[in-house]
Amino acid sequence: MKRAKALPVAVPGLVVAAALIVGCEREQRRFDPPTPPPAAGDTVRQELNAYDVSQGKRLYRWYNCSGCHAGGGGGIGPPLIDARWRYGGDTPQIVQSILHGRPDGMPAFAGRIPDEQAWKIAAYVRSMSGQLRTDVAANRGDALSSGPPESRRSREDIALDPTRPASASIAASAASGAQR
């Protein structure tokens, strides 16, 4: 008798609590003063937060990344939705590409955008090929899009571009990091 009475309260209560806990992790918003950008090798933190990734998606459009990379399919610049990465597809390597540029056209944004924005853009770029958790990647965009939303993309197996020796790519990435 007692149990039957408690159930109608406990079950919805647990459901609400679970929803709140999940919501906290997904949507916690870190406003300024800005947290220092993650140290190299910290690939996790910036990717766990849906707000950061959605900010990255907005910045990708604001800073006209789409001018060369289009919606991720590439154009003047290489595509970002596939598994091929000339300079590495990990977050720190993408941040390096954004901040310090790459040969043949990728401009350097260091000093032009705050470092923490580069990390957000990099997290969004990784979501384009399905590297992020689905509850973190963006569900929808403000602009028309031909592909499925980032949260519903299958995970591409990121590997270094087979046309380049792996050691050369990593060396190039490390060298530009050293110039910093």
Partner: protein, 323 residues
């Protein structure tokens, strides 16, 4: 100054244009009808209490079972309610018609785009080279009709200048228009009236209504490109802005900064407020805003600048010179 909040500058009960006056009339009629109805309901309640059977200290009141429904009274109340509601509906339709009949000859065309959390403003002109961009402060000529073309850059916003017009939504992917005329010169305040995110409450729109000659003088000043920096300090500030992160989002006409993601800064120093009516526009607040915008508007899309103190001073000197 626009920072002055006295004198009912954001007050729906002080109409200073035909559109706001129409809305105010409808509001008064509605208030009167609802007040009368409220008073009648209270009176009926008091009457029922007064006429209810009473008991004594020892006996409960004697309530005789009464199965008759007072058809006439209930029917009369329903009919009166329906008539009054129909009357209000008619008043609402008549107000809408009157709002649509504002004479728009020789109207000024202004495009107003809502963004999180500021207003982008473009003044149209039949001669395209005379159109110009500004932000966060609307200037209107006295007595001349205005057609505001409303757009949104991100989420749904709503513009409401209570003393001049009713509110109207700004909807992504859709264009809406709001027509108004201001019949009294002065300063007013508009406000975003549709919850649009963390800083919705700080999305204000100061509105300055001026005599036509004064308005034209203001518009001519706005059309001009930005003043070149006056001294070495301001020149340094300009270099810092054009070579740093500022130019990624802001436009300063006459320089290489042409981005459209943030407010146009060409004549920033001529505006009365910073950050969409949030802060007074003076050197101290400008420095505080540039060095940490999120301290004043948490969640704002403008990142904190990483200038050293003397760099910040140079940037502020340059911005203060953008008259």
């Amino acid at each position: 100054m626009i920072g002055n909040t006295s004198g009912g500058w954001q007050d729906a009960l002080l109409a200073h244009g035909p559109q706001a006056a129409q809305v105010l009339d409808l509001w008064r009629v509605t208030l009167a009808v609802c007040s009368v109805v409220f008073a009648l309901v209270l009176l009926a309640l008091l009457l029922a209490l007064w006429r209810a059977p009473r008991g004594t200290h020892e006996t409960a009141p004697l309530i005789a079972p009464d199965d008759r429904i007072p058809l006439r009274r209930v029917g009369g109340a329903i009919a009166a309610s329906a008539l009054l509601l129909l009357g209000l509906l008619g008043g609402s339709v008549a107000t809408d018609r009157a709002l649509a009949q504002l004479v728009l000859r020789d109207a000024l065309h202004v495009e107003l785009t809502g963004r999180q959390w500021w207003w982008s403003i473009h003044y149209d002109d039949p001669d395209p080279s005379r159109g110009f961009d500004t932000a966060n402060e609307l200037h209107l000529p006295l007595g001349r009709p205005v057609i505001l073309t409303l757009r949104s850059g991100d989420v749904i916003h709503s513009v409401w200048i209570p003393s001049l017009a009713g509110k109207k939504d700004l909807i992504p992917g859709r264009t809406t228009t709001l027509t108004l005329r201001a019949d009294r010169a002065g300063l007013y305040r508009g406000q975003c009236a549709e919850f649009c995110g963390a800083q919705h409450a700080w999305m204000g729109l100061p509105v300055s209504v001026d005599e036509p000659a004064r308005f034209e003088a203001w518009a001519d000043a706005q059309r001009a490109a930005a003043k070149p920096p006056a001294d070495e300090l301001a020149r340094r500030g300009q270099r810092l802005m054009l070579n740093g992160a500022c130019a990624m989002c802001h436009a300063i006409r006459g320089t290489d900064a042409n981005a459209r993601q943030g407010p146009d800064l060409t004549h920033l120093a001529a505006r009365g407020t910073l950050a969409a009516g949030t802060l007074p526009n003076d050197a101290a607040h400008l420095a505080a805003w540039v060095s940490n915008p999120a301290a004043h508007k948490p969640g704002v899309n403008m990142p904190s600048a990483t200038f050293s103190p003397d760099e910040l001073q140079a940037v502020v000197a340059y911005l203060r010179g953008l008259q």
